[in-house]
């Protein structure tokens, strides 16, 4: 705890400040709500507090493409960091069809 607390206190503050920044930007970027990356981040934060172990593995699993078959063609060279089909429970509840 002595070795790692301050480092991770700073990381939690970074995360808090990032979410505040997203909130402030909403007026200019109305589509930030529903962004699959933000949804996956919120899902990961919830997972951190569920009391279960293997958090790092489960966060990576949560952000992974769950499909198993090769895709027809690569749409780009890079990666976004989250699966674009991810939706939180709250997002799914708000779906109309």
């Amino acid at each position: 705890m002595d070795r790692y607390f301050l480092e991770h206190r700073a990381k939690v503050l970074d995360l808090a400040a990032f979410l505040d920044r997203v909130d402030r930007a909403k007026a200019d970027a109305a589509d930030s709500d529903g962004d699959f990356r933000l949804d996956s981040l919120r899902g990961a934060i919830a997972l951190l507090l569920d009391g279960e172990s293997d958090r790092a593995k489960r966060v990576l699993d949560l952000m992974s493409d769950p499909s198993t078959e090769p895709i027809d063609a690569a749409p780009m060279k890079g990666a976004t960091g989250a699966w674009d089909g991810f939706k939180t429970e709250a997002t799914r509840d708000g779906e109309t069809g």
Partner: protein, 271 residues
């Protein structure tokens, strides 16, 4: 004393060689990779392979670092299979070079059918020439799926011994599968997009130190050519034995790479 078994020195300065040597690096291996842009012809790859087999060993030797390489066309340039096969056709002429350890880093990037076709062509090339293999696994959200597709492709190919294949860039969600299937596994130490030195130390504590190594994969993106000594330092601060630290940063790469019969750690500085 340590080995960095995956670093792209063609993208780094000579100062990095000097800093790595000062930190205790005695040997490296440099897999062929995507340069940040698509080459316009197979001749561009011929020039690149010449740099990897001739220029870089000389740069490294100035600082007493033994340089080795792996050859391939990276999956990021495999979406055009005709072009990729033209590049694969020029690889055999370089396999006689004494610093070439095998075929790599092959694998998948976005997990497409064309990438898979070219991965299978590389596996056949390795089998035809009795070469060892270094595998790149995809980035971020594509890693878990791609790692499984790659291991299935190797298994279905049926010729390569898993003990002669290293699957790189494992993280918490892929390391167990890779080790359980009998492969060697590499952890890449990146500031943002792969393992940090702290998480790599965690993975050693959770999964053991057999058939597992660490590398910097230093290249033209956010990366740190001194990441391996930083992970060694992290393990030392946690109280790991020097023998354990040596195992993951020297003995394990030495054991795997010595299967090639070409790996060495005894280069004398030439400057």
């Amino acid at each position: 004393m340590y080995i960095d078994p995956h670093v792209h020195m063609v993208s780094r300065t000579t100062d990095d060689y000097q800093r790595m040597a000062l930190a205790g690096c005695v040997a490296i291996t440099e897999p062929a990779f995507w340069a940040g842009y698509d080459r316009s012809s197979p001749k561009g790859f011929h020039d690149y392979f010449s740099v990897l087999t001739d220029t870089e060993p000389k740069r490294a030797a100035q600082y007493g670092i033994a340089h080795h390489t792996w050859l391939c066309i990276n999956p990021k340039e495999a979406e055009d299979p005709v072009f990729a096969r033209e590049v694969i056709d020029i690889i055999p002429e370089f396999l006689e070079c004494e610093s070439v350890l095998g075929i790599g880093e092959i694998g998948l990037n976005k997990n497409s059918r064309n990438e898979l076709e070219i991965l299978e062509a590389h596996l056949q090339l390795a089998a035809d020439h009795d070469q060892m293999v270094l595998v790149h696994t995809p980035h971020l959200e594509d890693k878990r799926k791609g790692t499984r597709l790659i291991m299935d492709a190797i298994k279905n190919h049926g010729v390569l011994d898993p003990n002669r294949v290293l699957i790189d860039h494992v993280e918490e969600h892929t390391v167990r599968d890779v080790l359980d299937r009998g492969y060697w596994a590499g952890m890449t130490l990146y500031p943002d997009t792969k393992c940090t030195p702290q998480r790599a130390a965690d993975i050693f504590e959770m999964h053991g130190t057999d058939r597992l190594w660490i590398n910097s994969a230093g290249d033209w993106g956010p990366s740190d050519p001194l990441a391996v000594p930083k992970c060694r330092d992290e393990m030392r601060r946690r109280g790991h034995l020097e023998a354990t630290i040596r195992k993951v940063s020297f003995d394990n790469p030495l054991e795997f790479l010595s299967q090639t019969g070409r790996f060495r750690t005894d280069v004398q500085p030439t400057r």
